[in-house]
């Protein structure tokens, strides 16, 4: 991993279109400003970690019941 030291007000540029600026530091928090084209998704890292965990959990679970029983059946509506 590339490691750089920056001061408040300084920034860095990734490629030609992505710019990150250090706006403020307070305690162990750093506020960053990000300029990126709308085509690039910028997300907090935890969001991806959470998706990964949800996927792993979803794949590991094996329900004992027949799931279709949990949904109202279409022919219930026609039944008298």
């Amino acid at each position: 991993m590339l490691v750089l030291t920056r001061k408040v007000g300084e920034g860095l540029v990734i490629g030609e279109e992505i710019e990150i600026t250090v706006i403020e530091t307070r305690g162990d928090s750093v506020r960053l400003g990000i300029n990126a084209p709308r085509s690039v998704g910028v997300w907090r890292r935890e969001l991806w970690d959470q998706i990964r965990e949800e996927n792993l959990k979803a794949a590991a679970q094996s329900p004992k019941v027949a799931l279709e029983k949990l949904f109202p059946r279409k022919d219930d509506e026609v039944a008298p």
């Binding site: 709308r38 085509s39 690039v40 998704g41 997300w43 969001l47 991806w48 959470q50 998706i51 990964r52 965990e53 949800e54 996927n55 792993l56 959990k57 979803a58 794949a59 679970q61 094996s62 329900p63 004992k64 019941v65 799931l67 279709e68 029983k69 949990l70 949904f71 109202p72 059946r73 219930d76």
Partner: protein, 188 residues
């Protein structure tokens, strides 16, 4: 056509055009690039079955079945990855998490839909820009979940009371009636 052995569905016949290609894998399963959709018509939940590991299958369902007005805003870069040139080619699936001991509390990940370019069979799990969408949205309504919950606690109570059931209680049918709330009906 080839045959694929799966833990959940046994042996499946797979045509090349059935395969969904995830060039970047799926978070948690980055090495799994090829998946197929398996399941039964009667069941709104289908399974994304990995072709890399017979034991790995992810339950999925249409997000519109959870939220009828569902409309994911997908960033342009993700659409480029899917080579989308016509929005009509897009289809979305939400990954479903099903607690084994209380399946009625299943939740769908509406924030990170799997987006498929149906025509090109290209797919990717993305984060949509709708931060109002939950990663754990309940699939079933509160009323339906409460009804299943009540049934389950009744069943558990009956099971716990089983040893004494040899002696017929004078009010024989009563406890059963109190547990007979039908599952599908929503009460106001």
């Amino acid at each position: 056509m080839k045959t694929v052995t799966t833990t959940r569905f046994g042996v499946l016949s797979v045509n090349d055009e059935d395969v969904l290609h995830f060039p970047k894998g799926i978070p948690g399963f980055y090495d799994h690039r090829e998946w197929i959709l398996a399941g039964e018509d009667a069941n709104p939940i289908k399974w994304l079955q990995s072709l890399s590991d017979e034991a790995i299958a992810l339950p999925v369902m249409p997000p519109q079945a959870v939220l009828p007005e569902y409309n994911a805003k997908i960033v342009a870069g993700d659409l480029e990855d899917l080579s989308v040139d016509d929005d009509g080619d897009l289809s979305t699936m939400a990954v479903v998490s099903i607690p084994p001991d209380a399946p009625w509390n299943m939740t769908a990940n509406l924030r990170a839909p799997i987006v498929v370019n149906v025509r090109k069979r290209l797919a990717k799990q993305v984060i949509c820009a709708n931060d109002e969408y939950s990663m754990r949205a309940f699939v079933l309504s509160d009323a339906v979940r409460a009804s299943f919950e009540a049934q389950a606690s009744c069943a558990a109570a009956e099971e716990a009371g089983a040893p004494s059931s040899e002696t017929i209680p004078p009010t024989g049918g009563a406890p059963k009636d109190s547990c007979a709330a039908p599952a599908g009906e929503e009460e106001a």
